[in-house]
């Protein structure tokens, strides 16, 4: 029991603050990432998170101490400067936007790396490695010096790690920003011209967004490093984008994805090696990035509508439907031409494109009682003919329309009609049927809409 309490205490003091910090960083970046993604400026997050480095160091140099305020201001300024510089280089240099971005952020980053050496060689906090990886292990919640203060007592709360408090503030402000300006952000993201026409300044909003990104980057970087920031600015929003078509839903999903990545990544990094019987722990920031990447990969493959699997299935279903419709139409035409209306199975399969779809189409139609199989040949049942009639009607309506209205030659319309017949809905068909003759261009009767 006592040991259990101890372990919980350890978790509360060491792991929970670090996990919360990482998760808050993930959520605030993940939320902002939605708008970067929509504006196709995901790499702006990448650029800014590299380019804030000189701003941070300059803030540090100017204020002479590691004050959060000065460094924050420096980094926010660097964020805006980056956005402006990229625009400038793009316009003046006439290179592609990607190259302009690459020039600006890589040179600024190099400037930051050099400035760090000038700032103070001995200052371990401002180490370029820490900028990338963060120092999550430095985030813990020590008990207050006095004994026996309650966990929620002011003395105890005052000992909360600075990174955690900062990130809590940044996350709150970010949420307020997005909730308060949701409509404006949405319009500015989808249609900047409309935004300007409606009378608010879309490019100003863009720079405000960049300030927020820079703020989230700065608040996050010392704890989790810039790599996690980039991953979080992109992966959760991209994951959500694949799962929904509504912006508000997308934002909620991205928040949940960021939260889950933060918690799961941290747990995997801190305790994963233990579960596998190895010692030590792994980099939590790196692991969170990997988890968010895995989520994105999962969404790319398995998203319900936009995923690779869903689209492959949809394609298969379409192919199968077309094969079935073609087969029924084929048998209908055969029954027009000769009394029994039979077609050899081999011949029918070749006619509808062979392959797996042809085979399955025959099987499915047979099971559904729409065709009969006898002695290696196929024949439509009455129900099958009824179903096929509408298909053939559509086909011949299209053929006569293409000849009459579009002016194609009669021997050129079959192919087009063959495609169109599968995608014609009822209203289109009614429109085609108006003023339609009784015979199609090949002098075959256009079947009536119903058998009566």
């Amino acid at each position: 029991m006592a040991q259990g309490t101890d372990q919980f205490g350890l978790f509360l003091r060491l792991d929970l603050p670090a996990m919360l910090t990482a998760t808050l960083a993930a959520v605030s970046c993940g939320l902002l990432g939605n708008f970067l993604l929509l504006r196709r400026q995901s790499l702006m997050g990448d650029a800014i998170s590299h380019a804030v480095l000189p701003g941070l160091v300059a803030g540090f140099l100017l204020s002479g101490e590691r004050s959060t305020g000065a460094m924050f201001l420096g980094a926010a300024a660097a964020g805006v400067v980056t956005a402006v510089l990229i625009e400038l280089v793009r316009r003046l240099g006439r290179v592609e936007p990607g190259a302009a971005m690459g020039v600006v952020f890589s040179v600024l980053f190099a400037l930051g790396v050099v400035l760090i050496r000038f700032a103070d060689a001995g200052n371990i906090d401002l180490d370029p490695d820490c900028v990338l990886n963060g120092q999550l292990e430095g985030v813990f919640w020590p008990p207050p010096p006095g004994e026996d203060a309650g966990l929620l007592s002011p003395a105890s709360l005052a000992m909360l790690p600075r990174e955690l408090v900062t990130l809590l503030g940044v996350t709150l402000v970010t949420v307020l920003f997005i909730a308060g300006l949701f409509k404006e952000l949405r319009i500015a993201s989808f249609d900047p011209a409309l935004a300007s026409a409606l009378g608010f300044n879309a490019s100003l909003l863009h720079y405000v967004l960049m300030v927020f990104v820079a703020g989230a980057v700065v608040a996050s970087f010392e704890a989790v490093g810039s790599i996690l920031v980039i991953a979080m600015l992109i992966c959760p929003a991209a994951t959500a984008r694949l799962l929904t078509d509504r912006l508000s839903t997308q934002i909620w999903i991205s928040a949940v994805a960021a939260l889950a990545a933060g918690v799961m990544g941290y747990i995997l990094a801190a305790f994963g090696p233990g579960w596998l019987g190895a010692g030590g722990s792994l980099s939590a920031a790196g692991m969170i990035a990997v988890v968010s990447g895995a989520m994105l990969a999962g969404a790319i493959v398995a998203a319900p509508r936009h995923g690779v699997i869903a689209r492959a299935l949809h394609r298969r279903r379409t192919v199968l439907t077309i094969a079935e419709e073609d087969l029924l139409a084929l048998l209908y035409r055969a029954s027009e031409a000769n009394a029994p209306g039979t077609v050899g199975e081999e011949q029918a399969r070749t006619a509808i494109g062979d392959g797996w779809a042809a085979k399955r189409a025959i099987g499915r139609l047979h099971r559904a009682g729409l065709i009969e199989r006898r002695d290696g040949s196929l024949r439509a049942t009455d129900r099958g003919r009824e179903r096929a009639r509408s298909m053939v009607r559509t086909h011949r309506l299209w053929e006569s329309y293409l000849v009459r209205e579009v002016g194609l030659r009669a021997d050129h319309v079959h192919g087009s009609a063959e495609h169109l017949e599968h995608v014609t809905d009822r209203r289109m068909k009614d429109a085609l049927a108006r003023e339609a003759p009784l015979l199609d261009p090949h002098r075959r009767p256009i079947p009536p809409a119903s058998s009566e």
Binding site: A99, A231, R241, A285, V290, G293
Partner: protein, 448 residues
């Protein structure tokens, strides 16, 4: 200063000389290869590529160590880096092709996730029983000084190969970069050329890891070509300039960091490239910012000059007395300020105006010039009234803008057109009458 000179002339010890040569070659290779990456709009793809090499380095180290080999052998690590870098690029392309995500998001996702995986692997390697991570993290920022002589020769050789390959394929790469469709129609193997181009980028990135590191190697690929773009409009020239700028960055940057050992070489090299870029942006003769500003100032000066001359001409038109008071001129406010005084001084110095006490007059030369300007203005006004059906009270502003850019052939055409309509007197170079009243400040100038 002596020290710097000795480094620059390859006399500061064999090792420094070799490193200097290696980074210079790297700079040239990156500048040459990067030109095509930038023109093909794949600049940031190389960023994804370089970040994606990180896990490969870790895995190569782990596997080599597990097999009992020497983990920190450069060829093994670089092979791992190349493999996972290529994997990263393929991942970006697969995401773009198979999902609705755009290229920028795909690049960012791959870059950060691969790098995150690399960070995880590094933390794992640190925990490994075999102990030290063997300085693997130096690949992040590069460590030129740690380059051994064999390393430097290996890198130099690879760089030379990349330069040679790019030099051989300039025309083909340019074709693919500018007009992929046309290249395909002409029967060029576009995907093979793309593949080759990417292989060269991979080669440069992998070489650059050692010198400038994962994060900054992309700068070597992008910054020199972007700078070279300011100097020329021709691909062949751009490749050469970009190679020279890249080589200069590598050479000067690594010399600077040899002289000041506290500064990380990679960052200094990139900053050197950045300074060259800035210099190109500001100073290039045709597209530089300063040249453009100078052109704008010249244009505005010439417009102001023509306006003043025309007003002077109008004010003295038909009067014997050519001297006028500036304050009486139509739109006098424009010439009241210091810029106006500057303009008057300039035109006086050029011998177009003379001072007559408080007043100003056109000289002989000034009169000819002013007549020509006025003529252009009124020709265009006439044209607008006659052919574009603009009311004569509305043509002045439009003509005000066009009069400065009318070329000789256009003027002749205007004259011919107006003469055909009988709107132009046949008397040579004097301006036609103004189609509208000239305003209160020029009394008595009403035209019939």
């Amino acid at each position: 200063m002596d020290e710097v000179l000795r480094i620059l002339t390859f006399r500061a010890g064999h090792n420094t000389a070799v490193v200097l040569l290696g980074t210079t070659l790297l700079g040239v290779a990156a500048g040459v290869v990067g030109t095509f990456a930038v023109l093909r709009k794949r600049a940031l793809m190389s960023d994804a590529l370089s970040h994606a090499t990180f896990p490969g380095i870790g895995i190569a180290f782990i596997v080599a160590t597990a097999l009992g080999g020497q983990g920190r052998s450069l060829p093994v690590l670089l092979a791992g880096a190349a493999a996972s870098g290529v994997l990263g690029v393929l991942a970006v392309q697969a995401i773009v092709r198979h999902s609705r995500l755009r290229e920028d998001a795909s690049i960012g996702a791959v870059l950060s996730v691969f790098f995150g995986a690399g960070v995880v692997l590094m933390s794992y390697i640190q925990n490994m029983a075999t102990g030290s991570e063997g300085g693997l993290h130096h690949f992040i920022y590069g460590q030129t000084a740690a380059m051994s002589r064999t390393d430097a020769w290996l890198l130099g050789l690879l760089a030379a190969g990349a330069i040679a390959a790019a030099a051989l394929l300039v025309k083909e790469f340019a074709l693919v970069a500018f007009d992929e469709g046309f290249a395909a129609v002409q029967g060029w193997p576009v995907s093979l050329l793309d593949l080759l181009m990417m292989a060269l980028v991979v080669l440069v990135v992998v070489i650059g890891l050692q010198a400038v590191g994962i994060i900054l190697v992309v700068a070597m690929l992008i910054v020199p070509p972007a700078a070279a773009r300011f100097w020329t409009e021709r691909v062949g020239v751009m490749v050469v300039i970009s190679g020279v700028l890249g080589g200069l960055s590598g050479y000067l940057g690594s010399a600077a960091s040899a002289a000041l050992p506290r500064l990380p070489a990679g960052a200094v090299i990139v900053l050197t490239a950045g300074s060259l870029f800035l210099a190109s942006l500001l100073l290039t003769p045709r597209r530089g910012v300063l040249a453009a500003a100078a052109r704008r100032i010249r244009l505005r000066a010439s417009i102001a000059r023509e306006h003043l001359l025309r007003r002077m001409y109008e004010a003295s038109e038909g009067r014997g007395e050519p001297a006028v008071d500036l304050a009486d001129l139509n739109g006098a406010g424009r010439w009241a300020g210091p810029m106006g005084r500057l303009l008057v001084a300039w035109l006086t110095a050029r011998g177009l105006l003379v001072r007559r006490g408080e007043r100003l007059a056109l000289t002989e030369e000034g009169l000819t010039e002013a007549a020509a300007v006025t003529r252009r203005h009124r020709l265009w006004e006439e044209f607008l009234v006659t052919y574009a059906d603009v009311a004569s009270s509305h043509v002045h502003r439009a003509a005000d803008m066009v009069e400065h850019v009318l070329s000789e052939p256009m003027l002749r055409e205007l004259e011919d057109a107006l003469r055909r309509r009988g709107r132009l007197p046949e008397n040579g170079r004097t301006p036609p009458a103004s189609p509208h009243p000239l305003g209160p400040a020029a009394p008595g100038k009403e035209q019939a």
